[in-house]
């Protein structure tokens, strides 16, 4: 009888020890990251592209770095309809129920609705887009992995000028729209830069509707100024309309576009890459046409492992950079305060500890050094540019192109 009791006690002790050991070794701290998505608004078309890659990237981090640190990052999606009123009314609920240590913003509505309250809420917000001049402000709790749209274009244009144009200024025509202050801000950035630049001249700006039927007369007027490039920072409709107008007028002026209306996005909208022949785009992240860099390999390997249908391109790259920044900030915060003590404030502070190297960002973006002077890294800014030759998108240069100093235009 006594022997039986002994064995039962021993058995219970062993089982308890096993459970205790398991709980100790598998100690996992789960942290939530809230994420603004838009499945019912104007950017719904992007969501199926970025979702699987994001899923794969978070799975990769949780299985590798996360496991090392005993941390699991969980994303909680919030469909904002790209509407600031939805963001504003949902955010208090997100704060109380999700308790995020960081927020992944989608665009302008997130910035407009949250930028004033984030310092009080102690939650840093990470964006994927380029910055606008009007949020180039000090002490922001908004972090942008990319400089302004004007920076991104000026970097490429300077490189092009130095390489191909001698003895005169590069002549830039701009096509934009006044429906959004953001588009006007991009033009303001160029205008302000032009004042102090001895290599760039803005020869004309055409303000047009968002969904034009034809842009022939606007492009004819702009072409009289003999621009070397037509910059379009608005949307894919404009890129396609200008391409068609150029064809009708027999013009060969190349278009330079941003990431959201890039060659890939415009070709996707037009269902024809050959329409983009001779056009350029430039932005401060990898264009997503090289599948051999660390970022593409990591994401696509995990997509395969998880049987996800992933599309690798500029959209997945820019969201991957946004998410990698959060992950790296969490790693730094864990090193500083411990895996069990990560808060929004710890993540915010971690953004300033040291630069985020190109290696940290899996070669998808250049090294970033955040300071409290602005929401984006202002040191050693670089871009990559692509063009279309023989119906195929190719890199203009293998390496990153440095961006010259662009003065602040919003005081």
């Amino acid at each position: 009888m006594k022997q039986n009791r002994f064995f039962v006690s021993l058995f219970i002790t062993l089982i308890s020890t096993l459970f205790f050991a398991q709980s100790v070794f598998a100690a996992k701290y789960t942290y939530n990251i809230s994420w603004s998505v838009d499945y019912s608004g104007p950017y719904a078309v992007l969501m199926p592209v970025l979702q699987p890659t994001s899923k794969a990237l978070f799975a990769w981090w949780n299985e590798t770095k996360g496991k090392e640190l005993g941390i699991e990052l969980v994303t909680k999606q919030l469909d904002t309809r790209y509407d600031p009123s939805v963001v504003a009314s949902s955010w208090p609920g997100v704060l109380s129920s999700v308790k995020p240590i960081a927020h992944l913003g989608l665009g302008g509505p997130d910035v407009a609705a949250l930028m004033k309250r984030l310092p009080n809420d102690k939650v840093p917000m990470f964006m994927s887009t380029a910055t606008y001049g009007f949020i180039w402000l000090p002490n922001m709790w908004v972090f942008q992995p990319r400089p302004t749209y004007s920076h991104e274009a000026i970097g490429f244009l300077k490189w092009f000028h130095d390489k191909n144009i001698n003895g005169r200024k590069l002549r830039l025509g701009i096509l934009s729209s006044k429906v959004s202050p953001a588009y006007v801000d991009i033009v303001n950035g160029f205008r302000n830069f032009e004042k102090g630049a001895d290599w760039l001249k803005v020869v004309g700006v055409e303000w047009v509707q968002m969904k034009p039927v034809s842009l022939v007369s606007e492009i004819r007027r702009l072409s009289r100024e003999k621009p070397d490039f037509i910059y379009i920072g608005t949307n894919t409709s404009h890129v396609i309309a200008v391409t068609k107008a150029k064809k009708e007028l027999g013009l060969k002026i190349p278009i330079l576009s941003a990431s959201h209306n890039s060659i890939q996005m415009s070709a996707y909208a037009a269902r024809d890459m050959s329409l983009m022949e001779g056009n350029y785009d430039s932005y401060a992240v990898d264009p997503g046409i090289n599948l051999n860099n660390a970022g593409a390999k990591t994401a696509l390997n995990y997509c395969k492992k998880m049987e996800l249908k992933c599309t690798w391109g500029i959209i997945s790259v820019q969201f991957s950079v946004q998410q990698l920044l959060v992950m790296r900030a969490v790693e730094r915060a864990a090193a500083k305060v411990g895996s069990e003590n990560i808060t929004g404030e710890a993540v915010y502070n971690a953004m300033y500890y040291s630069p985020f190297t190109e290696e940290d960002l899996l070669e998808l973006a250049p090294t970033m050094t955040f300071t409290k002077d602005g929401p984006f890294s202002t040191l050693n800014l670089k871009v990559k540019a692509t063009t279309v030759e023989n119906g195929k998108q190719i890199m203009v240069t293998k390496d990153w192109i440095p961006i010259p100093n662009v003065p602040k235009w919003v005081k």
Partner: protein, 354 residues
């Protein structure tokens, strides 16, 4: 005309026109107001944030109800009028450091001025053509903001403003803002009930029902059509002022045609020609938006095999649009009519079949 309990009668014009006729009605109104101001004690901050946004929108929609539901002047520019109010309010707060109790009414005035400009054509045109004119307000609004000197409305940059303050109270949290927003909403709704049942309201209804007959009866239709736009836009301007203090950043792209269309949807759902209908419509549509915003991620997480996020989130648009269509087909008089039926049934209980 609502049915009244047996024995309730009026011996003077004042008692006939009073908001409440019986002590029960007065008690219910008092209890409702107490409940309204006690919401932050009862509910969490999430619900309060929803109420804040719904209250701001309801002020703009009540204004639209006056212009469209009472005066019959279609208006698809209410969001632009709201934007003008927001910018005027923010500009006065930023440039002149004026307190909110001056800037918010001034925002209302700013909205009213823009409303008058676009309301003047209402004398000559109506229906579809008037709708096009008010859409023009929506198109021109961002251009006005961006072409004014930057010091006035901030141009493309927009305006950031400090929280509203009253003595030592700073309205910088959802709860504190709730008291500011709900107080303004209660005042504006009280005024709206008064406007529509007075001389102005009766003249507007006459213009709506038959403007030629109204003119023959001596109603100055130019004045009343313009006034309808001015009052409606003033409500939108006040809502814009509250929006400015709630978000604390105003940009021209926050006030789009999309919202103007939704505001019309709200008065359709609530019932045209009723202040209560405008409020019920706002609560219904905003509530539906909030429910769908909360439910969609839960559905995506728990039922990933059914359509994925694309189906659940995009489905919200179908549900919202579908709600409006269903109301137009099955209850064109809106939620207000349903509310009146329910109230009458309650009053004459146990004879609800009447």
């Amino acid at each position: 005309m609502a049915l009244l309990p047996c024995g309730v009668f009026f011996t003077s014009y004042q008692t006939d026109m009073a908001y409440t006729h019986t002590w029960r009605q007065r008690a219910c109104l008092a209890a409702f107001l107490v409940f309204l101001f006690a919401l932050p004690v009862i509910f969490g901050v999430r619900i309060i944030a929803m109420v804040n946004m719904a209250a701001i929108v309801s002020i703009a929609v009540v204004g639209l109800q006056i212009t469209t539901g009472y005066a019959g002047q279609i208006n698809l520019g209410q969001s632009a009028f709201m934007g003008m109010g927001a910018f005027v309010c923010a500009s006065l707060a930023v440039n002149f450091n004026l307190p909110f109790w001056i800037t918010i009414p001034a925002g209302g005035l700013g909205g009213a001025v823009l409303g008058i400009v676009f309301g003047i054509p209402a004398l000559r045109i109506k229906g579809f053509y008037l709708a096009m004119t008010t859409i023009a307000a929506q198109i021109i609004f961002p251009l006005i903001i961006m072409h004014m000197p930057e010091v006035v409305f901030g141009g493309a940059v927009g305006l950031s403003l400090d929280p509203a303050k009253l003595g030592n109270i700073t309205f910088d949290t959802d709860i504190s803002l709730f008291y500011l927003i709900i107080s303004v909403a209660v005042i504006m709704i009280f005024l709206a009930f008064n406007i529509v049942r007075g001389r102005i309201g009766r003249a507007m209804i006459a213009v709506r029902d038959n403007d030629i007959a109204a003119e023959i009866m001596g109603v100055n239709i130019f004045s009343y059509k313009t006034l309808a736009f001015a009052i409606g836009a003033m409500y939108a301007g006040i809502a814009g002022g509250l929006w400015a203090y709630y978000i604390r950043f105003v940009g021209a792209d926050q006030f789009t045609l999309y919202f103007s269309v939704w505001y019309v949807g709200m008065i359709i759902v609530g019932g045209m020609g009723s202040i209560l209908g405008a409020i019920l419509g706002t609560i219904f549509i905003r509530g539906l938006v909030e429910i769908l915003t909360v439910m969609a991620p839960i559905m995506v997480e728990n039922f990933p095999s059914i359509g994925g996020p694309g189906l659940w989130f995009a489905g919200t648009n179908i549900i919202l649009g579908g709600a409006i269509i269903l109301f137009v087909i099955f209850e064109p008089r809106g939620l207000n009519h349903r509310w009146r039926i329910a109230r009458t049934q309650f009053r004459i209980w146990p004879y609800p079949h009447l």
